[in-house]
Subunit: 261 residues, 2 copies
């Protein structure tokens, strides 16, 4: 449990970047995207699949340049998207050295790590609701922390023993409730006019936060690794810390875009 | 060569749907997307990877519903996109039966077949330049036909022997020139005010048309299949006929959206 708490505290400095928003946050997202995709690809290499980090970096570069030139232009983002998939496809043309799996892993890294984490920037750029950037982290971390303690004290029934043996149904419920309460309180004190939207976002994001966590576990299980890295000694890599955020960021962003805007 | 010509003629009835545009074309795109993704997934099954056709069909359904409710809303398309990737991720949670590769193949099918072919509808929906839908097919088929005959008569130097042994550099050049000429002529007679844009589109689309063709070949090679199906006896499946169009459709669409609009 001690490790878990220290692991949580390691995240605190990052909150400064979230508080600052704008370029510092953008820089952090780029950095997390780059380190994250590298860790993800290293995981694939452990299972004999060799994605192209260069294509992912070029793709990330273009995405952030597009966003700098035309923030929030989703037609351009879709163009970027199609372009990245096509570029990754070219990677498998050298059939003597590479297989479609190498190209596919490249594509998934671009979507799952770079595109998903980019939504943190999109939330921050929102002209009306940029403060909801906090919900991206709050929902992910509260789910995680409350799930851990609920499971620790009340956990009896396994959630998915094959995928993540330590997780319990009690933990999942506790985590979800924790996220709903914290997100509701955040809404009540920070954006009272939409406090119940925050509650709903806390609920949906809690569910997807756990999907994000389990997705990372499913990849790692097949890759045969326990952690994606050891950037923070004893606490795994960037991808181990941000697996939930990768899913909560798009959820919060599209909730704002579709329901609130 | 006779087979090749008949194979080309098989496409003629499809031109009626392109001419009609609107709902008939949309219905054809849905049908091609569904059959195409099924063929693509069957190819994966041949290499021991089991994508979920149900997820792909659900994803296609949602995409076309979104487009019906809010045509050309790319923010919603990105939301659809993130949702499809997350939904496909859930597929690998049953670790006793499935692996991340099954989920990844599901994702790639959704992007490569359904999302890419959807661009045909997007071009057709364009309020100003919907006539350029013809360029999507013209560039793909002219590249294919001219490459074939150029290669047949002048082909000496292999283009990429390991990937697609019959293709020659002379064929690639002839195909590209053929597409440029036909697209330029199309522009000159149909949309004279932007004829040289048509010429440029013919050039870019010709290059990507060949990338599309080679991408399909690279998948098939690893899957250990010669054709994706035999829907049209002797002429392969939908994916064998439309592999180039999957790449030319996004290219033409984003050229229109970014350069012409």
């Amino acid at each position: 449990m001690k490790t878990r708490i220290i692991s949580g505290l390691v995240m605190v400095p990052l909150l400064i970047f979230v508080y600052l928003g704008g370029y510092p946050l953008l820089a952090m997202c780029v950095l997390i995207g780059i380190i994250g995709v590298k860790e993800f690809y290293d995981g694939f290499r452990a299972m004999g699949i060799n994605p192209s980090l260069n294509i992912a970096l070029a793709s990330a570069f273009v995405l952030y340049v597009i966003n700098g030139l035309a923030p929030g232009n989703f037609e351009l983002i879709c163009a970027w998207f199609a372009g990245s998939i096509m570029l990754s496809s070219l990677y498998m043309f050298k059939t003597t050295e590479r297989t479609p799996l190498d190209a596919m892993a490249t594509m998934i890294g671009i979507i799952y790590v770079i595109f998903f984490s980019f939504h943190v920037v999109l939330v921050d750029q929102n002209e009306v609701y940029s403060v909801l950037i906090w919900l991206v982290l709050l929902s992910a971390f509260c789910t995680d922390i409350f799930a851990y303690f609920s499971g620790y004290f009340f956990g009896k029934h396994k959630l998915c023993p094959n995928l993540s043996p330590k997780k319990t149904i009690e933990g999942a419920i506790g985590g979800t409730l924790g996220s709903v309460i914290c997100s509701g309180l955040f809404g009540y004190f920070v954006v009272p006019s939409i406090w119940w939207h925050c509650l709903i976002m806390g609920l949906i994001a809690a569910v997807f936060s756990q999907f994000g966590d389990l997705t990372a576990s499913a990849y790692k299980r097949k890759m045969g690794i326990k952690d994606y890295g050891n950037l923070i000694p004893g606490h795994g890599g960037i991808m181990d810390r941000f697996d939930s955020v990768l899913f909560t960021a798009p959820i919060i962003y599209y909730y704002i875009a579709i329901v609130l805007m």
